[in-house]
């Protein structure tokens, strides 16, 4: 009887461990990579799905929460300039079209890995308005040091008065 309980406990422990392991590079559950191909295919991002080019940038859903969708690729972030309001939690969803990249907001602790075949997601709140450089913080190749985007955090009221296209991305500014 004791052996039986011990065995069951050991297996449950193993299950718990498997459930809690996260792939350290990207902070995704480890089984995300076991099945293979659950995320968007890096080769066909532009054809369909949420990372088509007209869907990139800051988007507002029906409940008013903001989501930024980005692609990291050799050696640019797309869109290269993102506009968000200050003091509001913004969900970042990012994927990669080739290797592993990392979005890091210079001057903050925030960072987000971009992995091919997976969507990495995090919610960040920028309290003060300002401009942040977004260098790639994971060595990705010979153009790595020139890979950087820009984040423009606008005051809340100013952001809502912007033209819809300028809210999506600040490329044109």
């Amino acid at each position: 009887m004791k052996k039986k309980i011990g065995g069951i406990a050991a297996i449950m422990l193993l299950g718990l461990v498997l459930l809690s392991i996260r792939y350290y590079e990207v902070d995704l559950p480890i089984w995300h990579f076991l099945g293979g191909g659950k995320g968007p295919d890096p080769a066909t991002l532009h054809l369909s799905g949420e990372f088509v080019e007209s869907n990139l940038g800051t988007a507002e859903d029906a409940e008013g929460s903001l989501t930024v969708r980005m692609i990291a690729q050799q050696y640019v972030f797309v869109p290269q300039c993102i506009a968000i309001p200050a003091g509001v939690p913004v969900r970042f969803r990012i994927t990669s079209a080739d290797g592993v990249h990392m979005l890091s907001f210079l001057g903050t602790d925030y960072g987000l890995k971009a992995v091919p075949g997976a969507v990495t997601e995090a919610s960040f709140t920028f309290l003060k308005p300002g401009e942040f450089k977004i260098p790639c913080n994971e060595f990705c190749g010979p153009g790595h040091y020139a890979m950087r985007g820009q984040l423009e955090v606008a005051p809340r009221d100013q952001f809502s008065s912007l033209h819809p296209e300028e809210r999506r991305t600040c490329e044109s500014r």
């Binding site: 065995g7 659950k38 054809l47 640019v76 290269q80």
Partner: protein
């Protein structure tokens, strides 16, 4: 106790544990399946597709099977504008000698689907199949790029403004990190490559400049994932000229 009873009493807990293990190990798999369905419902319908070409395994296989000899026969029609040796006599037309297969094939497909606008090329491509494009790509990728004094080619054209060389070298070798402009050579060779990026070392300057202007203004938009558009947009007009002239003068790294 009989030996039969003994084995039976040993077997039961083992089977028990095995079932439990399978169930527990299956939980993460079920969980992750739930994850992916949630993500799919998040997706919005596509609005604009830059190019129908995607670098899937099937596409790469199709292109790699291109037959250069068939390409040679098909290429007779191309020679009028692009030169018999793959170097055109008019600097506004691109040189095709030494072209990258993937890049060549993608442009042909984009002309066909109208994703890249060009009345002349759309007409020329209409009669070709995807396999013909692959054959042509194989043929042109094998043409030599060495200079030929017998040939009527426009290719190395002296720079209009030699002072532009400094700007061009900097952008080609180092890019501009402050503005997020990666170096040209990190995708167009020779340092590193990207699927679908052409080599620039033997390309005509006027053609390159026209394409950079079109990318910057958005009138050419068949680059996958907005890559060239976002780079060209950040270049100043002077820089676009400088880089094009530098490559057009045959000075770019190969």
């Amino acid at each position: 106790m009989s030996p039969v009873n003994q084995t039976a009493s040993l077997r039961t807990p083992v089977r028990w544990r095995a079932t439990l293990a399978v169930v527990l190990l299956a939980i993460p798999l079920l969980w992750s399946r739930g994850d992916s369905s949630a993500q799919q419902s998040n997706a919005e319908p596509p609005v604009r597709v830059p190019s129908n070409v995607a670098w899937t395994h099937e596409t790469l296989v199709l292109i790699s099977r291109g037959d250069a000899f068939r390409g040679l026969i098909l290429a007779r029609r191309c020679g009028h504008c692009h030169g018999e040796e793959g170097f055109s006599a008019v600097p506004a037309f691109p040189n095709l000698a030494g072209a990258v297969r993937l890049s060549f094939w993608k442009q042909m497909e984009d002309f066909r689907s109208g994703k890249r606008a060009s009345p002349v090329m759309q007409e020329a491509v209409a009669a070709l199949s995807t396999r013909d494009s692959a054959d042509l790509a194989a043929y042109y990728s094998m043409l030599p790029t060495a200079s030929d004094p017998q040939d009527n080619r426009a290719f190395p054209q002296a720079m209009q403004d030699p002072s532009h060389a400094q700007i061009a070298i900097r952008l080609i070798l180092f890019g501009d990190g402050q503005r997020g402009i990666p170096p040209c050579q990190s995708c167009h060779g020779p340092v590193s490559y990207v699927n679908g990026a052409p080599l620039l070392a033997h390309q005509n300057g006027s053609y390159l400049q026209e394409q950079l202007e079109n990318f910057a203004s958005g009138s050419r938009s068949n680059d996958i994932n907005v890559r060239m558009r976002s780079i060209a947009r950040h270049l100043k007009a002077e820089e676009r000229t400088a880089v094009s002239e530098y490559y057009g003068a045959g000075l770019g790294p190969e």
